[in-house]
Structure formats: structure tokens, C-alpha cells
């Protein structure tokens, strides 16, 4: 999608569509957060509740629309898009993986009772 800077047709209809989409996703998140369906809490996937996975996926979905539609990433060149998005995605994934793994390890150490904390 090479962007031609010379012509600018109005995209107000697309902007409002994205706004409605973001609003609906947020409402769904809040409703799920309040009623907390039992089966979503009881089911775990890769040591996290299914509900939390849904929240995270919906968040990334919203982030995609904010970046692509509002920040106009869809109109930038492939080079700029990849320079920004890939850098962020790879660095952040690595950071999260390392820190969460380490956090879980410390939780296990605490639980194993080598160190008393509940007194």
C-alpha cells in the first residue's frame, strides 16, 4: 500500500468505523471482566487463564487498529512499518518472556518453603 502524499481524500467514515470497533471491543472486555465466566477462569492455557488470554488478544487487536488506522501506519512504506513494528514486537516479546519466566521461578522458590513470607 504505497502512500501517495499528493492526494488526500477524506476518510471520516473509516475513522468512525474504527471508533465503533474499538468501543465494542472495550465494552466486551469490561463485560467479561465483570461477569468473569466460570469456564473461562477454570480453563488454563500455557499456565494462564483463558480469560486473560482473551483480554490480551483483544488488546493487541485494539492496538493494531489504533496504530494502523489512527496513526496511519497502513499508509506508510513497508520499510518504515517494519522498522517500527518488528523492532517493538521482537524486543517486547523477549523482555516479557524472560521476566515472566523469572517471576514464575521466584514464585516456585517462595512456595517451596525455603523462605517463609506469610507471618
Amino acid at each position: 500500500m504505497a502512500h501517495d502524499t499528493a492526494h488526500h481524500e477524506s476518510n471520516t467514515s473509516r475513522i468512525w468505523k474504527v471508533f465503533i470497533l474499538l468501543s465494542v471491543v472495550t465494552i466486551v472486555e469490561v463485560i467479561l471482566g465483570i461477569i468473569k465466566p466460570a469456564f473461562l477462569i477454570e480453563t488454563t492455557l500455557i499456565s494462564m487463564k483463558l480469560l486473560n488470554w482473551i483480554f490480551i488478544i483483544l488488546t493487541i487487536y485494539k492496538a493494531y487498529y489504533i496504530t494502523w488506522a489512527f496513526m496511519h501506519m497502513e499508509g506508510e512504506t513497508k520499510g518504515l512499518r517494519r522498522a517500527v513494528v518488528w523492532t517493538a514486537v521482537f524486543l517486547i516479546s523477549y523482555l516479557i518472556f524472560i521476566l515472566l519466566t523469572e517471576g514464575d521461578y521466584i514464585y516456585e522458590v517462595f512456595k517451596a518453603g525455603h523462605k517463609s513470607w506469610d507471618f
Partner: protein, 326 residues
């Protein structure tokens, strides 16, 4: 410009420096650089939050119980409604911002002014709401007791409703007065004394047999563990050393101290971004009114601050998920 630059023979060659391979202006590229580095800063914060969350996976405070206030609805349990409203306000101000950018592309000054104005109002409401959230968080609602191991014990009645310290404490005469620098030999003052002493809470708790204590530890269904009456009395009489009301960076009545620390740092850092965004938007707003961009014949400046403003919204989407939902 072309006329002032000497031909170097590199025109049209991708890596010769004679063209713009990314087809974006210098200002926009630098804004993307900044946004990417700022995104990594926020990721650092949120990943550190995730680390602590995993470390205390079975004793972290439950967000629904902490953030349940709504303006003018006192005593009503409104989990997350207000934060959801704040999210809408921020998303909406992002929409007016992108509408301003859109109107700028068509050189419609009046429309840009209106949309920028709405964006600024939205941002200001959001910052105000965040201040209100902070006020509630710092003030606290029920109060709790802290043990010598730094654990937080909260009070419940038999129906499972939270009970505030002022409903438990029995007034006991005491001679302890706040130490002030003027009457001390080392001329040092101490912090404000707590409203109640631990003895007053113990006496009140012993008298009301319908009270129970719940600990920070979460059960399998994700609720706080409620102790039996005997166990409650034992914990209160042997372990508890003081009371906690509200929150600061050292103690908070909701649970582990890290919870309040991350709350203050992450929402504070984000709130600071919103605040600076509002200030930048106001500057640009006046430039639009003065006709600066009409003279320049392009509104790219609006686009650049727009990028920053959308980024602030983007970060909030993540903060909202990880702080309030997950």
C-alpha cells in the same frame, strides 16, 4: 529547495541519499523514533509489573475490589465502570485528533480548530479522572491491619462484606501524642499517628463475634482466603503490629506494597504523558488559530502531535488491560 541543492548524480538511486526511501518527512520519522523508544520504556514498566505479578501470583490484590468507585455513587460497588469510561474518553479524543488531521489534509482551518479543541478537552477530562482515581486510591476505604511479615489482613463480617476500621475500633484512652520537633531532643518530628491503635482494633474485634479476617492468599477460584474465627483471633493477636489506611509507596491497605508502587509509577508515568500531550496540543491549537499552518500550506505539525496523542491512547489500552482487567 531543488534549485538550491547542487546535483550530485545520486538522484533516483535508492541508497545514494538523493531520495527518501521511507517517503516520510524528517519530523515524522523522528516522532516514530521517539514513540518506539517510549513504547519500550512502557514495556519495561509493564513487564516489571508482570514479573511481580507472577512472583506473587497467588496473593496479588484483586483490581475489581480496589477500583470500584464512581463519581456521585458513594458506597455503590462499581467495579471498573469509571476506568472503562476513562478509556472511552481517551479513545474518543483520539478520534477527534485523527479527524483534525483529516481536516488538516483538506486545509479546513475551522474544522481543525474545532477537533483540536475537543481533543484537548478530552485529554483534560482524562487527566482529571486519573487524579480522582489517585485520590481514592491514596485515601483508601476500609483500612487494614499489617502483620510483622508485611502481610495485609482485611476485615469481613459473616456475610462476606468488608468492614471498615472505624466500625471495629473501640476508643481507648491513650497518652501517645504526635512527637513534634519542638519538644524533642534531636529536633526531629515523626509522621502523622494512625487514626487507631492496634490495641483498639484488637479490643473491638474480640467484642464483635461476627467479624472474620481475610488474608492476601488467593484460593483456587481467585478469591481471598477467609480465616476461621479462632484463626482470625490468633493472627490478629500474635502477628498484627499496626494499621494501614489508604496507600503510599511503603504500605497500602490493598495488599503487597509493590501493587501501590506499580500503580503510582505506571499510571503516573502515563498521566504525565497525557498531561504533556495536552500542553503540546494547546500550543499547536494556538498555532492553528494564528494561521501558522495556513501560511505553511500544510498541517503536518498536527499530524506529528497526532502521532504522539494516539500513542498515549495506545499505551492506555495496555495499561487498562494489565492493571484493571487481567
Amino acid at each position: 529547495m531543488e534549485t538550491t541543492v547542487a546535483n550530485t548524480g545520486t538522484e533516483g538511486k535508492i541508497w545514494g541519499g538523493g531520495n527518501q526511501p521511507l517517503k516520510a518527512s524528517y519530523g515524522k520519522l523522528m516522532m516514530w523514533f521517539f514513540i518506539l523508544s517510549d513504547a519500550l520504556t512502557f514495556s519495561g514498566f509493564l513487564a516489571a509489573y508482570g514479573f511481580s505479578r507472577f512472583k506473587f501470583i497467588d496473593s496479588w490484590p484483586i483490581a475489581d475490589e480496589v477500583f470500584n468507585h464512581f463519581p456521585f455513587l458513594h458506597g455503590v460497588d462499581a467495579p471498573m465502570y469509571y476506568v472503562a469510561l476513562m478509556t472511552f474518553i481517551l479513545i474518543f479524543s483520539s478520534v477527534t485528533m485523527v479527524l483534525a488531521v483529516d481536516a488538516g489534509h483538506q486545509m479546513k482551518q475551522k474544522k481543525v480548530i474545532l477537533y483540536m479543541f475537543l481533543t484537548i478537552i478530552g485529554g483534560a477530562i482524562f487527566v482529571g479522572s486519573q487524579a480522582w482515581e489517585w485520590k481514592n486510591f491514596i485515601k483508601g476505604e476500609y483500612g487494614a491491619v499489617e502483620t510483622k511479615g508485611g502481610q495485609i489482613l482485611q476485615f469481613l463480617d459473616t456475610e462476606g462484606h468488608r468492614v471498615a476500621l472505624h466500625d471495629i475500633a473501640i476508643d481507648m484512652p491513650q497518652e501517645r501524642v504526635q512527637h513534634e520537633s519542638k519538644n524533642g531532643i534531636w529536633y526531629k518530628s515523626e509522621g502523622t499517628l494512625p487514626t487507631y491503635t492496634i490495641e483498639e482494633i484488637r479490643a473491638g474485634f474480640a467484642k464483635r463475634s461476627d467479624l472474620l479476617i481475610r488474608t492476601q492468599v488467593l484460593t483456587d477460584t481467585g478469591e481471598k482466603t477467609i480465616l476461621s474465627r479462632e484463626e482470625s483471633l490468633r493472627r490478629l493477636n500474635t502477628d498484627a503490629i499496626g494499621i494501614v489506611e489508604g496507600a503510599n509507596l511503603i504500605h497500602n491497605e490493598y495488599g503487597t506494597p509493590l501493587f501501590a508502587n506499580f500503580f503510582f509509577f505506571i499510571t503516573g508515568f502515563h498521566g504525565f504523558h497525557v498531561f504533556s500531550g495536552v500542553v503540546i496540543n494547546i500550543i499547536i491549537f494556538f498555532n492553528i488559530i494564528l494561521g501558522t499552518y495556513e501560511k505553511r500550506k500544510n498541517y503536518e505539525m498536527v499530524e506529528k502531535v497526532g502521532l504522539y496523542w494516539h500513542f498515549v491512547d495506545l499505551v492506555w489500552v495496555f495499561v487498562f488491560t494489565f492493571f484493571y482487567l487481567v
